[in-house]
């Protein structure tokens, strides 16, 4: 066979492999975004349409007073019969309890993200500038703790919260969150990459530790700080375990991530609107700064030196 023939064969092979990749990726990607698309599109349906479509699924778990039409088979649809903002109007104006839960989520997540990063910056600076046996051990303990599931860390957290008398208050969620070691880990790994020649140059110019920290290390870690902030936000926005234990007797303070699963059958139409409102913020952040988030994730893999 001549060279052109081989090249043609390669070309065909390449086209086939691209086609297969596209089919598999396309199919998986579609399945992955379907729950999101369906939640959003269903939030624009009228209450009666939701009841008709999903009454069969949700009616058996709660109110039986639903007298409206229910289709005899579940009917999962992407496009609403009639686009309506009625659910949003109800959520935003008539049912303040959802907005209160949303506000709860904000009140937990914002201080945790800000203060965990602020405190971790100092610790990371110290870990990065000097690693003797003591600090190596300490850093190892931080990582070990980071790897532990909630089943291990929540019991100690609870004991302290009980001792400090902050159980069933916001502080029992916020304080342990602030001192969680995830940000320390990533920021230390980032700061370790800052060459010591830069530190020395700063010292020769007469900078003290605080100036090296605030004028050199923090600005140079800007990208990592941003990535960590996004990852922390996403993580705590989705929290479930901590409120269930720390706020056992105070469900008014539960974040929306827990409350959403408790919406009763009579309000199922609202639930789609609330669910959409809840995921819009992290989704927009993600679409706006996807590359930063990917960078943050990639740097989290530096667990082994």
């Amino acid at each position: 066979m001549n060279k052109a023939g081989i090249r043609n064969k390669d070309k065909i092979k390449r086209i086939i492999s691209v086609a297969i990749s596209m089919i598999i990726l396309g199919y998986t990607a579609l399945m992955f975004i379907m729950p999101v698309v369906l939640t959003v599109s269903n939030s624009f349906m009228t209450k009666s349409e939701i009841t008709a479509n999903y009454g069969k699924v949700f009616s058996d778990s709660g109110t039986s007073a639903v007298s409206s039409y229910i289709a005899d088979k579940v009917n999962l649809k992407i496009i609403p019969d009639k686009v309506s903002f009625g659910q949003y109007v109800t959520v935003l104006i008539k049912s303040p309890q959802y907005l209160l839960k949303f506000w709860n989520s904000v009140i937990y997540v914002v201080p945790i993200v800000i203060f965990q990063i602020a405190i971790s910056l100092g610790a990371s600076y110290s870990f990065a500038r000097y690693r003797g046996p003591f600090r190596n051990t300490l850093f190892f303990v931080y990582i070990a703790l980071m790897l532990m599931p909630y089943q291990v860390t929540l019991v100690p957290n609870y004991l302290v919260a009980d001792w400090m008398n902050i159980l069933n208050t916001r502080w029992s969620i916020i304080l342990p969150g602030i001192f969680s070691p995830f940000a320390v880990f990533i920021l230390t790994k980032t700061m370790q990459r800052i060459p010591s020649s830069i530190v020395e140059a700063a010292k020769i110019d007469g900078a003290n530790e605080w100036q090296i920290f605030s004028k050199v290390f923090v600005p140079m870690s800007r990208n990592a700080i941003y990535s960590v902030a996004l990852l922390l936000f996403i993580d705590y926005w989705n929290m479930v375990e901590q409120p269930l234990i720390m706020l056992q007797n105070n469900e008014d303070m539960h974040p929306l991530s827990v409350f959403l699963s408790k919406i009763n059958a009579g309000e199922i139409g609202l639930a789609f609107a609330v669910a959409t409102i809840y995921m819009v913020l992290p989704l927009l952040l993600f679409l706006y700064s996807e590359d930063r988030i990917l960078e943050g994730i990639a740097s989290s893999s530096a667990i082994k030196g």
Binding site: L25, F32, V57, P149, Y150
Partner: protein, 309 residues
């Protein structure tokens, strides 16, 4: 000092930046300590010290009497049906979910490596579940998997008997799917980063040698990926211990027996505030995690050492 530059060293082999500066190093020992104090104080107060108290509680009969009972709490916990059930379920789930959470993202990352049109759209779509709160999509999952839900309607229409997806052993499958939906994106990003780090000349050289894609993967890429596979395995294992979140949102406090996870047990024990059981359980889970992770580290060292250097 060497460790600090391990990352730099990999990229920059000139060795120029590895000069030691003893005088500065000595001074740094003390001068950066104040920066660490807030973090250490909080860490000690909320995690480390109470963890030792938990350890102490696991060896006494109750917080009032404080009598040393050796391993009694552990023995009674290991004889506790609910705890053993939750431990068994969690481990079964991990054994099923972790390999899938490594293989599927790895495959997707390899597919994405091909230069296909619309690559970034596929990537964004596959990663997006990472940022979507599980609570937000749980309604759709219920509509799909409920006994009167979409899948059963479909099954019945083609003449297959309906399955109770939440209250039978199939419920494990539902939770595995939800777990994969949530975790695939993160793991895929890690594999994509690792694949991007394979030197181009290595790939080109093997292409010129006429190595096919399959052999290229096993002979070359796998070597470069070994540490990512290790990390993704650890990460997925940790996340599989957190699957309570998905189960709870899907089925509430009292799920089907096969979905009763460790965190369910902990939650229910918190209701009665049995400190002895809670403490012993936390310590046992801590030991299990440590053993598994240490085991993976040892495995990685043995398998990876031939490639890393």
């Amino acid at each position: 000092m060497q460790e600090i530059y391990r990352n730099v060293k990999r990229r920059d082999k000139t060795g120029e930046k590895r000069i030691k500066h003893v005088s500065f190093e000595k001074r740094d020992k003390t001068s950066t300590v104040p920066f660490m104090i807030p973090s250490i104080a909080g860490f000690l107060l909320f995690f480390l010290i109470p963890f030792f108290i938990v350890l102490y509680y696991s060896f006494i009969d109750n917080p009032v009497n404080k009598e040393f009972v050796a391993f009694d709490n552990y023995v009674s916990l290991l004889n506790n049906h609910a705890f053993m059930l939750s431990l068994k379920n969690t481990l079964i789930f991990s054994v099923i979910a972790v390999p899938l959470a490594v293989l599927i993202p790895l495959m997707l990352a390899l597919f994405l490596e091909n230069n296909i049109p619309g690559k970034s759209i596929f990537r964004t779509a596959l990663i997006s579940p990472l940022v979507v709160p599980v609570a937000s999509v749980i309604l759709i999952w219920q509509v799909v998997f409920h006994y009167n839900g979409v899948i059963n309607v479909f099954l019945e229409s083609i003449g297959i008997e309906a399955v109770d997806w939440f209250k039978s052993d199939f419920s494990r499958l539902v939770v595995v799917l939800l777990f994969l939906w949530k975790n695939t994106g993160y793991n895929m990003v890690l594999f994509m980063a690792a694949l991007a780090n394979i030197p181009v000349d290595v790939k080109e050289a093997s292409l010129l040698d006429g190595v096919g894609p399959v052999r290229m993967f096993f002979r070359i890429k796998l070597n470069y990926l070994s540490s990512s596979i290790f990390f993704v395995t650890i990460l997925s294992l940790i996340n599989s211990f957190k699957v309570f979140r998905e189960v709870y949102l899907l089925t509430g406090d009292y799920p089907y027996e096969g979905l009763y996870m460790l965190q369910h047990y902990i939650n229910n024990t918190f209701r009665t505030l049995d400190y002895q059981k809670l403490s012993a359980a936390a310590v046992i889970i801590c030991i299990i995690m440590t053993v598994i992770i240490a085991g993976l580290f040892v495995m990685d060292d043995k398998l990876g050492s031939s490639v890393d250097e």
